[in-house]
Structures are given as C-alpha cells and as structure tokens.
Symmetry: D2
Subunit: 177 residues, 4 copies
C-alpha cells in the first residue's frame, strides 16, 4: 500500500525540520510539509501568551489551552483531508502529551496509512543545538527530549545525535512504499 | 448565518498580509490565517523553478505547473475541511487566473459561506511598496494589480492606496456575522 | 560637499526601514545600510532581557544598560570609520534619548558631513502599522512617536502618515549632494 | 595580551554561524558578531546579481565585483575600529580568495591581535547540511569546502564533521586570553 503521509515526532531541536527538508529533496514525488511551527504561525499573535492559546515559560515549558486545542483539532482534520485528496504530506510534530498526542492523530486519520517516525536526540546534544540556533527559549530541548516519546509506537526511529539529517532522511525514504 | 471563512484576493504588495494580521487582532474570536505564501513554503524547495512547480520570472511573471495545481487542489480541500470542522479561517490569495481561480475555491467550498474581499491598490503605489519591502521580484506588483480582479465578485472591497491596513481590517470585521 | 552619510531618526513603525530600502534603490551609487536592528542582531542573545543589555517591557518600553551603551559607542565609531574610508552609509536609528542621542553621533562624527532626516508618523497611524507588522511589542510605536524627536535638529523631515516610502526616499535623495 | 577579536573562516554550511552563537553564549563578556551574511544584508538589493556586486551562480559559484570589494574594504576598516574602540568582535567569513583574503584582514588589522580559527567540515557532510538548511544555492558547500583554507594559517582549527557547535565553541573560548 502506498504511503501517503509521514509523521515525525521529536523534541525541540532534535533535528526534525532538517530531516523534513532532506526528505522533500530525496523523495522523487513532491511532498507538502506542515508541522507545529507552521500551525503556530497561523495563529493570531495575541494567542501567544494568552490563557486559551500557547505559552512559552522562561524555563522552556510549553502549555496550551482550550482555544489552541480546538483549532489544532480542526487543523488536523484538514491535513488528513489533504492526504485523502491525493497530496503526499510530511508532518513534524512534538507530542507534548506522548501517547495521547498520537491517539489524537490516529482518531483523525481513520484508517489512512501513516509512516510513524520517532526522531531521537540525546538531551544534552539537543540542548547544545538549541544554543547554536539562538532562536528558541533555552530549556525546551532538555524538557522535551524524552517525554514526547513516552508510550508512542513507531514504524522506525532515527537518532540525530550522531547521524546527519540527510542520512536519517534516506533511511526514512527507503521505507516509503 | 455565521461567517466561517474570509477570502482576501489581491495582487502582490497590495497589503493583504498586513490586513490579515490586523483582522486576527481585531476579531474577538481566534482565526487561523493561511495563504499562498504559506502554501509555497510547504512545497519542496526543488519545486521552485521547476517545470511542474512554480517559476518566478525576472520581470515578475509567475507561472505554475501541473504538480503545483494538483497539490494546491488537495490543499484547498483541506482548508475547507478545517472550516467545516469549526475553525475560523482567513485566506489571502492571488487569483492569477481571475474568475477561474475563484471558481476553484467555490467548487471546493460547496455551500460553505464565505466573505469574499477584494484588496485593491493602485499599481504604481503597490510597485513602490514592493521596492520598500525589498524581498520580492520587482514587477510582480504592477503585473498583478488589475488582472487578479478580472471577473471576480466580492462581498466588499477595500483599497489600501490611501487607507491603512487596520482601517481596512475594521471595515471587513464589521461584515463578519 | 559630497554627502557620505544619511542618518534617519524616527520611532518604531514610523517606516524607516522601507525608506532605507527605497533610498538604496533610487540612489545611483551603492549605499550600505545599518541601524539599531542590525546592531541588536549583532549582540549576544543573552543580552536581551539582561540588566546590562536591552529590555523590551510588555508595554513597549525599551531600556538599555551599561554594556549596551559601551558596545554601541564602539559600533558608532566603527560606522563613522566606514564612511571616512569611502563607503556611503545610511543609518536608521531610534533616538530614545532625543537630543542626547544625536549628540552621541555628532561626537563620533567629528566634522563628517551628515544629512539628518527626521521620519515622522502620527502615533495612531504608527500604532496601526505595528499591529499590521505583527512582529513588534505592541505599544512601542505610540511611546516613541514624539519623544525621539525632542530637541533633535534635521536637514529635512518626511512624514509617512500620508506619504509613501518611495516618495519620501525621493525627497531625501534630492538633497544628497 | 587580551584577545579583542576572533575571526572564523570556513566554507558555506560548515557551521560557522552556530559556533558564533555558542561563542556568544559561553564567553563571559559580551561579544558582537558580524560576518559576510550581515555585510551582504547591508548592501542594496540591486547589487545582488549585478556586475559590480555579488552574483550567486546556479552551480553554487560566487563572484564579487569592484563595488563589492570597495565597500567591503571600508566595512573591514570600520570593524577593526570597533575592536580598537573596545568592543569584542567575532567575525565569520568565507575566504573565497584563500590566503589573499586573510592578507586583506591583516592589512586592515595593523598589529591588532586576532585569534584565527579555521572551521573545517568534510565537503560531503557540508553538502548534506546545505540540503537540510534549504535556504542556500545547492553546490556552494562543496565548492568552498577546501578552497577557502588554501594558504591560510590559524591559531586553532575545529572540525564540525563529527563535533557539535557548542563543543567547538568551548575549544575556541578556552584560547581567548
């Protein structure tokens, strides 16, 4: 069966975005890429820091409210529709709720086949890359490194600690049927 | 009937993005914003300049191919699904095909009510703002200023030539039922 | 005498950056552009929000500390050296200290001829453009609109409230000898 | 003698910017960061693709003209002045001319002490990171990987092929007297 959708899950600064761009480059067909960053960009600026929206604490903690969850649910349904309508889709997400986050996707997916990919990176290495990026709240990488994988199942896992994004992408692409 | 979706159409540098951010600020409920820029960002980098993708000519001309159209159709269906699932959505688009572009949206929308907004700006003024932005191919603003409105019908039109984005947004927001 | 340097002063969201890009486009010779934004980008990330660095308050207030001032003074000397070495330079600055900020530049300039340009914009209009930009702390535009011009003298002033960036740039360019 | 200036040289996508941000984070004093990217940002948009400016060929080749060189020379003098005026400065550069590029800096530096750092990265790895970044002309990384180091001497060299940016930064910081 043809894979129509790839969902990558990993903590902040684990290297998801780089893998996504490499996947778009190495996969022969055109794939659309969406994810939590593009979703947050679509939100009103005033939802950042609001009770119902999304808040980034000084220690790197992230909390989201009811308005965020409601819009995210509608967004998820729309993304699944795009795949059903024939678009190949790559999602990069941060499963802050671990297994519960994956179940939210599964519910929306119905039976749509997905390649589930875990993107691992040792917390200390991800924290260093967070410093090198310079555009993220310090602490997110460490806080999220393990918790986002709790109870989540994958078709395959890659680890960017010692493996380049392009090599991870090639490993994933080899599984796309 | 409640408006669930606002679609803004206007040429490059006519001021759509500024109006969208103002709409997100003045509308009391949270609205998600998508558009042709975020769609192009979701495409593989290799589709920029390719035959099937999207090409930006040196004179500001834009041409899109079959792969672009196929992904765009799936994307459009997904956006409509988000609205049907309860999200309020603002779209800013450039109807390069005029009436035909609007019909593509209508077909995907089914009967979903939309507030159609034309964003006008005199070509010479838009061309000047294109210089001031500094991040666009020179010539797009002039080439697109009129052609994107040909045969398109609107619920209301705003003109940024002499009116600020925030005032345009307030005019639009007053029509959102 | 040939003008080697243009210094624009105006509040946040008064339209300085757009005028600078238009000036670079309309002036026949190549001019380098620097300003408070590029200076802040050159600072360590950790200086944002620190006592000795620069702090952006929730109400739009900006305060800078001793480390910021020391680096800024060295930066200013370097910019003047670039002009003395033959480069044409456009600076856009926010004179948070009014006349005192201008005197800091004058001291560094020695006798180097400068075209001083005031960039005005009515506070309410600048505040609306701040919303339309979406990337600034709300409130800066209003707080800075008048105070940055207190006690400052200019060779010419432009007002972006009702005049486009490109037209302002042409007015300024006509004064460059 | 106190080091006032650090100059990093390496090919495109060798990891210079990440090391610079880590250096700014780990060095106890505040250091200003400038480099070829911020210099190109300061140029008029019209100099990109012009004869006298800077051209990026489709194969990743970069060529610069007389106007670029003249402005760059003035910029270099200004940067050195900033250091002499007391600012600590980190430069990341791409020595397209190898030893000749270093000599240009030396001439401007007079006797000012500099820590010269070579940033190495295997061409194939840098080329993969270029794909992962997605914002650079493909081919630059490979073309520049070795040529920028030809005839250049260093106080120390780091290699990002198998070493993280933060670890490279700590190695460099340990040499700052």
């Amino acid at each position: 069966m043809t894979t129509q959708m790839i969902i990558l899950n990993g903590g902040s600064s684990s290297g998801k975005s780089g893998i996504v761009r490499c996947l778009q480059a190495v996969l022969p067909d055109p794939w659309l890429a969406f994810g939590c960053d593009s979703f947050v960009d679509a939100l009103p600026a005033k939802m950042q820091g609001s009770d119902g929206g999304i808040e980034f604490a000084a220690d790197g903690g992230v909390s989201v409210g009811a308005d965020f969850r409601a819009l995210e649910a509608a967004w998820t349904e729309g993304i699944v529709t795009m795949a059903r309508a024939g678009a190949r889709i790559i999602i990069d997400d941060v499963f802050l709720g671990g297994a519960a986050s994956q179940q939210r996707w599964q519910k929306a997916l119905g039976g749509l086949p997905v390649l589930w990919v875990g993107v691992r990176c040792e917390g200390a290495v991800a924290a260093g890359r967070e410093v090198a990026r310079g555009d993220r709240v310090q602490g997110m990488a460490t806080l999220q490194a393990d918790v986002v994988h709790e109870g989540v199942f994958y078709d395959l896992e890659v680890d960017t600690t010692h493996t380049e994004s392009l090599e991870c992408a090639r490993t994933i692409a080899a599984q796309v049927g």
